[in-house]
């Protein structure tokens, strides 16, 4: 790719773009430019990612030995709770929609901005207020319920900061509702002339499906949090049976949102992967319509499977069977995506740039994450492996192996567009290798650990589980290096990276038809679309033509 880049010393005079259009702090904090808001989100979610990662390292260090020796039991419980809450609510849910989605949705559909730029800024502020609240909780005593807040432990028994932590999630939830609302209206109303639904990039389809879940699911978790607070503060019997409540009601309400929330996390990353595979195979995505509709199918069916988290919770035999059956349905659209990505490679012209390596990594890890999900959907197996490290491994394969691989692939792919600079390819490939190897070493042993019976959220464990735990901790160390490297070289590239041209990857998509970085209003004139998505047959591969011309 080096030849597609203008060396730094030949940089043309800087053009006015979204980054240099105002340098004051105010110009950033009061911006309504979706690209600047995306950068604000980028900085904040990265901060929370490393905070959540710090807690993950504490967990892995404690579990190096069977005894609880690094910290007290209560401290450990607070550490895994903070890890879960920060990673789920303040990193995984917002990361792809709020950073890449915010930046790309208007660019990809040829719009000047999102439909409600001020609401977009408000959603970042809500996220930050939620973030400050959760940080406050963390610094003033913490929470020890796990991110799942199960009642009646959370409502009547623990004496940690449940209401405050709930408020943090509640506020951050509205940030996610506003983002979803903004995306839906924007995608419906602001597409460039000629950009029909069947010509939309798959990343847009994925974000559209995600937005549906955000606005339909998030209010339910908000209500649930309010109910927890009401029972805790006023002892109204909602969930605690001593007060006449029903503890399973909490689980139903919680998972009604929190299962679809997994699709809030994974769908946008799936959208990213579709973009990457198209570009680096120089092909239209195989079965475009099926991939687009599978996103919607996942969003819809995802709402009908929540009780598969409750097979041993005390729900009726027949309810469990229905939810198990429905859960297998959601496997179909997920499998369809994987098959179509694989088929896209056929007769392509494939290069192995870093974003493509992440896309390959995504397919591999998501396949394992998805297939182990089928184990958990199978009733007779779930009884044994639920609430063990098997589940922990499964959802990390989906949420970290899937979401994070997609996000990192997307960050490398669009970094030239966001920053106007290229990242160092060799370092990026090295870090992708670290992430892939480190990830598998961390989480694969946990599948075995779960099947041999180690329950999750254990501060101490019987000595026979130690070897697998040590492997997992070793893997986490490699993984940490893999995550720190991009942080360093992305920052480095801001100053020293070669200046990127408008379309360094020679990619399809409207976002590549404007300058890197784009001007404040994205396009000098509104583009008119007369082509299908991924029209790589109409974009000559310059690398290929060079020798022919010679």
């Amino acid at each position: 790719m080096a030849s597609r880049v203008i060396p730094a010393n030949q940089a043309p005079a800087p053009k006015l773009n979204y980054l240099n259009n105002g340098h004051s702090l105010k110009s950033w904090l009061l911006t309504t430019d979706h690209k600047r808001i995306a950068v604000l989100y980028l900085i904040s979610v990265t901060t929370f990612f490393f905070l959540g990662g710090f807690f993950a390292m504490l967990i892995r260090l404690e579990l190096l030995t069977p005894q609880g020796d690094l910290m007290q039991a209560d401290t450990y419980n607070k550490v895994f709770t903070m890890h879960g809450m920060i990673m789920v609510f303040f990193f995984l849910i917002p990361v792809v929609p709020a950073v890449l989605g915010n930046f790309l949705v208007p660019l990809m559909i040829g719009a000047k901005d999102l439909a409600f730029p001020r609401i977009n800024l408000l959603s970042w502020y809500l996220y930050i207020i939620g973030g400050i609240l959760i940080t406050h909780v963390m610094l003033t005593g913490g929470v020890d319920t796990g991110w799942t807040f199960y009642s009646p432990f959370s409502t009547e028994y623990t004496n940690t900061k449940i209401v405050e932590a709930g408020l943090a999630v509640f506020v951050a939830g509205f940030s996610s509702i506003f983002t979803g609302l903004n995306f839906i209206v924007t995608i419906h109303r602001m597409r460039a002339p000629g950009l029909t639904w069947s010509r939309l990039p798959l990343f847009i389809w994925a974000n559209y499906a995600t937005s549906l879940i955000m606005i339909l699911g998030t209010p339910v978790v908000a209500i649930t949090i309010v109910l927890v607070a009401v029972e805790r503060l006023f002892h109204l019997g909602i969930f605690d049976p001593r007060l006449g409540g029903d503890p399973l009601l909490f689980q139903h309400l919680f998972w009604f949102y929190s299962h679809p929330a997994v699709y809030i996390m994974i769908l946008p990353s799936m959208g990213v992967v579709s973009e990457l595979i198209g570009c680096f195979s120089r092909k239209r995505i195989f079965g475009y319509k099926f991939v687009a509709l599978s996103s919607i199918a996942i969003a819809v069916i995802g709402f009908l499977v929540w009780a598969h988290h409750m097979f041993v919770a005390g729900i009726s035999l027949y309810a469990a069977m229905i939810f198990s059956f429905l859960t297998f349905f959601v496997g179909v659209p997920s499998a369809v995506k994987v098959f179509n990505w694989t088929a896209t490679l056929y007769k392509g012209s494939i290069t192995y740039a870093t974003p493509m390596l992440y896309a390959f990594g995504f397919i591999g890890l998501f396949t394992i994450g998805g297939l182990t999900g089928l184990f958990l959907a199978t009733l007779g197996i779930d009884v044994h492996v639920t609430d063990t490290y098997f589940v922990v491994a499964h959802f990390h394969y989906v949420m970290v192996g899937g979401v994070l691989m997609g996000y990192l692939g997307g960050m490398h792919f669009w970094w030239p567009k966001i920053s106007g600079r290229m990242y160092p390819e060799a370092w990026a490939k090295l870090s992708a290798l670290f992430v892939f190897v480190g990830f598998n070493l961390t989480f694969f042993p946990q599948f075995i650990l779960g099947y041999v019976g180690m329950p999750r959220r254990y501060w101490q464990y019987p000595p026979e589980f130690q070897v697998l735990n040590v492997l997992s901790t070793a893997g986490a160390s490699v993984l940490a290096v893999g995550y720190l490297l991009p942080m360093i070289y992305f920052l480095w590239s801001l100053r020293y990276g070669p200046i990127a041209e408008a379309n360094p990857w020679n990619a399809a998509g409207l976002e590549w038809k404007t300058a890197s970085p784009p001007p404040t209003f994205n396009f000098d004139e509104t583009p008119v679309v007369t082509w299908e998505a991924y029209n790589y047959d109409e974009i000559p591969d310059k690398e290929l033509e060079a020798p022919v011309a010679r």
């Binding site: 419980n77 199960y150 092909k283 475009y288 005390g314 297998f328 297939l371 009733l379």
Partner: protein, 318 residues
Amino acid sequence: MAGQVDALYIYLLLVAGVMTAIIFLAVTVLAIKYRRVHGREAQQIEGSTILEIGWSIIPFFVMLTFFIWGAVLYFRERTPPADSTEVYVVAKQWMWKFEHMEGQREINELHVPTGQNVKLIMTSQDVIHSFFVPAFRLKQDVLPGRYTTLWFKATVPGHYHLFCAEYCGTQHSGMGGDIVVMTPQDYAQWMAGGPSAPLQETGKELFTQLGCATCHRSDVQGRGPNLVGVYNKPVLLEDGRTVTADENYVRESILNPTAKIVNGFKPVMPTFQGIVSEEQLNALVAYVKSLAQTPPGSAGLQNEPVASPAQPQKMQVQ
């Protein structure tokens, strides 16, 4: 049960292994074979509806086998055989308490004989816990305010880990113990070592002490329904519904008597919430259940209405 779970697990591992291998191999082979070479451009392919339908339907049918096998196994795991010995389990932060029908009590250790079906009737005194024995491949959440059940048949003598699998606070990871599986001979010897009266006897005493017997009389119809033969039978309620008088119904009727009033009776019974402990409650439930076991010689009683013949049908047993 462990063998059956493992068999299904191996089947799933095989299918998942084959699927993973296909995807990994396909991606690797295609990525190498169609890497960019000078002079060859990508060939655009729109897609194939037949392929799409094929790779939607075939995996679905494979998954259907997972579902059916898993559901059948689950049904067995959740349906205790009728000949099970019963053990009452009370979970609390952070210990497991067991009460055998014979009156033996244990903490964090449960002795069971090999070859015997054991049904656990479990409840929690505080938060949600989960009874998990990895060696048996079994787990069941234990909830406050109701009974959940789990059954197993141990086959090999030995000590097996018991874990709490639902996060329950500070000492969650310390809330464990042992399932001690013994040969029937050893078990009989162990059981003989204990004192105390059988659980239903304790329950019977309580039944008299707490004054239950004044209304729930077994000779004539009192102010409350006669409880002989009620357990596990359908009961007609005042609002026309019919419920089965299972353990949870008996439990609820003690703690929250007005929740489900039997047809023909008045809601006059006071609640015993906060008056009886979980252990006493278990004893009372065990006693009510023992009333359903028809003594020899009065075999016809089970199919008769339990209400006194002099009264109109107060409680219907169908």
